[in-house]
């Protein structure tokens, strides 16, 4: 291969690998401090009601116990992303089973746990609501009776249990549906799934002199944690320092505060460092799982297979707080419209409170839900029209220069290539190779989240380069990717780069490890820093070589003037003795994605930034007797713009697909009257190595104008398509079209029995 790059495009091992394979990496659960105590939470046992009393005497008298902390110990303060509806401990009322009411601090975690059971909370139980359909009724009990007093961003339109009602409108849907040859309406229902990171959320907090809060945690977003903790404790952000430990997976589940606020509240009261680690049960009942959606989707088509209009009504169940569900309700509309060219749209969504676990931003927050609806229905329509599903997609997909549903102009559109490659790889021509066996395909687009990034790049006198970033490494190796960008641009070897990350006091601001943006944004900030470093190098070299800075050429990290030259290392050594070292502050902010604001109403997310395109295809068999699904082959074609590190891109694809297979086939947090019925890993079934298929990844490189060397976001897309792809293949294999996730063996058998009974 003739790559013009030295470092980009090569599968170097990640820079933090050695510590991780030798057991030396210190994760959040491992971190400890001298004098540290342990905290455990007391949880609400009812779904809705007033707190009458919290009895702590018995708990306080138990062995090892130092303090019991409640809402009375901290400022009365609500916080939240779009609507400020959360509080650290329930103060007056609770609105889901599992909600923290108090915390016990003791010498050991075991003692704290025993004492937490002895805290008696008395409630006056009130009516609760568990489904969005019930919650939007006019006479529904209010999850937050005081909702009108909560502060919220101005974009949202709230009413009772509804935290936002947003719309995306284009053209005239009613007229277009009338003109359509066929109109299809279906309901799709998705499941509530846990991100499933293997390391529970953990934090240690310590107040130095009662005014400076220092937190170590496995958060994905140290700067957001800093800001939220400052808001909660009514101090300034600079009074809070957050250091990120090594993180055992995040997938969006560690974006918002996990246990940092409990640790901080407890540490404030006892005056010593306090550590909190979520138990498995707390993870399953009170973490931040994916929002379940109910999507009613109507599509009008011509008999030739042209989509004329789409209408949808979407209910997003955010659980007891709105969290990022308000964002999901917006971004799902961008998913539901496309990746197709549709002249008429009327998409309406509502994010809604229920008395269940608050939800969060699991990897590609609205992706799998929206894609399951849109791509399932595409197949249903294709079958009804007698058109091959691949062909039906090709007749409607967006191409270079087309407008997205929000009116943004699409560039670097590789969707057709992705679809054709996926179809080819899976052997699409033979779509039903034998009875009980079938193939499925699905496609999507996804955004590369914007937000600002800063890096300090510092070169030591030995030529070692420090990449100092406020972004955390959550496991994806995206910071190794950013380091590859830095090595490429600076003209050094990857091995000479060391990463320092995630310390709000000493690393520059970064919007953080979320939204497929890390390598993209941190990489771009590195390129900016290299430009500045080169300028400094020229100035220093010019002095040494008796030249003008503009006469100096920089090539592979060496400053040259005629036949004289100075290496980066030599320049850094000179800079160290003469001007405080060689360092540059690189920054990046993605340019705004222009779109038509007329089409969007009350949407808090309105654009798809540097969109990536992708298609998945699967070949599977279904055992009609048992409903068991066996995946023979799984193919992913993903446009990454530019592959910075192919091995870790494959890693994102393989991991994302298996996570998506979990959502498709087996995972669901099951509630009964607001109580989680499967609060442990015995009954919450994530795919094991036996369940995971071999996955074949094909990388497409259709460069973006914005990303470093053309890169687009990589991390989230692979989790989007598996539910739809698998649902389509199952329908093709055994004529069971299942529109609710997960598609369990039971559901398949039940559907097949119904089909044969109705003689369809």
């Amino acid at each position: 291969m003739n790559s013009p790059f030295r470092v980009i495009g090569k599968s170097f091992p990640r820079l933090d690998a050695r510590g991780k394979v030798s057991g030396k990496a210190i994760y959040g659960t491992d971190f400890a401090m001298q004098g540290m105590l342990h905290g455990k939470l007391v949880h609400s046992t009812i779904a809705s009601g007033e707190i009458l009393s919290v009895e702590i005497e018995e708990a306080l008298a138990m062995p090892g116990v130092y303090e019991v902390v409640t809402a009375a110990d901290i400022p009365a303060q609500r916080y939240g992303s779009f609507v400020k509806d959360m509080e650290v401990f329930a103060s007056k009322r609770v609105n889901f089973v599992g909600q923290p009411v108090a915390a016990v601090v003791a010498r050991t975690a075991e003692e704290a746990e025993a004492a937490a059971k002895a805290v008696r909370v008395e409630y006056k139980e009130q009516a609760a609501v568990f489904t969005t359909e019930d919650a939007v009724k006019a006479d529904a009990p209010l999850v937050h009776p005081g909702w009108q007093e909560y502060k919220a961003v101005p974009t949202v339109k709230r009413q009772g249990n509804i935290t936002n009602q947003a719309r995306l409108v284009l053209g005239d849907v009613d007229k277009a549906l009338k003109k359509s040859d066929r109109v299809f309406t279906h309901r799709f229902v998705t499941n509530i799934v846990h991100p499933g990171y293997t390391e529970p959320r953990a934090a240690i907090a310590h107040w130095a002199d009662g005014k400076q809060l220092h937190v170590w945690s496995n958060t994905q977003l140290p700067f957001e944690a800093q800001a939220t903790l400052a808001e909660i404790f009514k101090i300034t952000p600079s009074q809070v320092r957050v250091n990120v430990t090594v993180i055992g997976g995040g997938f969006g589940g560690k974006l918002r505060l996990g246990v940092e606020h409990y640790a901080a509240a407890a540490a404030l009261k006892v005056g010593r460092p306090v550590k909190f680690v979520s138990s498995c049960e707390e993870e399953m009942t009170a973490a931040l799982p994916r929002q379940p959606l109910v999507i009613d989707l109507t599509t009008g088509v011509t008999k030739e297979g042209k989509i004329l209009a789409k209408a949808a009504s979407i209910l997003v169940d955010t659980g007891a707080t709105s969290g990022s569900g308000v964002g999901v309700a917006s971004s799902v509309m961008l998913m539901l419209a496309g990746p197709y060219k549709i002249p008429n749209l009327r998409l309406e969504s509502r994010s809604v409170y229920t008395n269940k676990t608050p939800t969060g931003s699991f990897r590609a927050p609205a992706g799998p839900q929206g894609n399951f609806a849109v791509e399932s229905q595409m197949d249903i329509i294709a079958d009804a029209l007698g058109i091959d599903p691949l062909e039906f997609r090709l007749r409607n997909i967006v191409r270079e220069g087309d407008l997205a549903p929000n009116g943004q102009k699409l560039e670097s559109v590789s969707l057709e290539e992705c679809l054709l490659k996926a179809a080819d790889a899976i052997g699409w021509k033979d779509r039903r190779p034998e009875p009980g066996r079938g193939k499925g395909i699905a496609c999507a687009w996804w955004t590369t989240t914007s937000g600002s990034s800063g890096v300090y790049v510092k070169v030591g006198p030995d030529g070692q380069v420090f990449l100092n970033t406020g972004c955390a490494e959550i496991g994806t190796a995206a910071l190794t990717g950013a380091a590859q960008v830095l090595a490429e641009a600076l003209g050094v070897e990857l091995g000479s780069i060391q990463i320092v990350s995630g310390d709000t006091a000493s690393t520059p601001f970064d919007y953080g490890a979320q939204g497929s943006r890390t390598a993209f944004a941190v990489g771009n900030a590195c390129i900016d820093a290299v430009g500045k470093l080169h300028q400094r190098m020229k100035e220093i070299a010019a002095k040494q070589l008796s030249a003008k800075p503009e006469e100096i050429e920089i090539e592979n990290g060496v400053a040259k003037f005629g036949d004289k030259s100075l290496t980066l290392k030599e320049i850094a050594a000179i800079a160290q003795t003469s001007q405080g070292g060689l360092i540059a502050h690189g920054t990046f902010i993605a340019p705004p994605t222009l779109h038509d604001k007329e089409r969007t109403e009350n949407m808090v997310i309105t654009a798809i930034n540097s969109p990536s395109f992708h298609a998945h295809a699967v070949d599977l068999s279904v055992d009609a007797e048992t409903g068991e699904v066996k995946i023979h082959d799984y193919v992913v074609v993903q446009d990454v713009g530019r592959a910075i590190n192919p091995t870790y891109i494959e890693g994102q694809i393989e991991g994302g697909v298996v996570q998506g297979i979990g959502q498709a086939l087996s995972e669901e947090i099951v509630y009964e009257n607001g109580i989680v019925r499967n609060p442990g890993l015995t009954d919450y079934k994530m795919p094991t190595a036996m369940d995971a298929p071999n996955i074949r990844s094909f990388i497409v490189e259709s460069p973006s104008k914005v990303g470093p060397y053309g890169a687009k976001g990589v991390g989230e897309p692979p989790v989007i398509h598996p539910p739809a792809t698998i649902a389509n293949a199952i329908a093709s294999a055994v004529s069971a079209r299942i529109q609710t996730l997960p598609i369990t063996a039971e559901k398949i058998v039940r559907t097949l029995t119904e089909v044969s009974e109705t003689g369809k």
């Binding site: 690998a17 394979v21 030798s22 499933g196 293997t198 997976g249 997938f251 694809i653 190595a689």
Partner: protein, 162 residues
Amino acid sequence: MTEVQLDLTVNGRRHRLSIPAHYSLLDVLRDELELTGTKTNCLEAECGVCTVVLDGKSVASCTVLAAQCQGRQVATVEGLAEGAALHPLQEAFIEFGAVQCGYCIPGMIMTAKAFLDENPRPTRESVREAIAGTLCRCTGYQKIVDAIMAAAQRLSQQGERA
């Protein structure tokens, strides 16, 4: 709290400890010996991040009563490398991109170690079966299987040469 005396050898080093009778092997490793390379999560033998090798067999240390490990040999991830030289499994995990967040990796590697000691010439299928008790949420397992297969080959070549 009743304490029991425990005589335990971890990575070749003998420890004589007095521990609460109900402690799990994981508690002893992480809390008493401060060997945090072995990870903690579900505490109910479902996730496998706490896997260590006990007398040659891989076990979920969170559900093994420490008091039952009297006089026994435990191997953890911290004992695999020899000085600066990583074990072939550790090297292969790095080389094949099998490490993402890494939290499952100590358990995976110790599971693989016990498995390969008994099955030096595995198939991909048998590797998948062997590691099915350890969850990995990041990698989708494929590169972990690649790494274990490669390590198996290197280990058996080393064995032949020795």
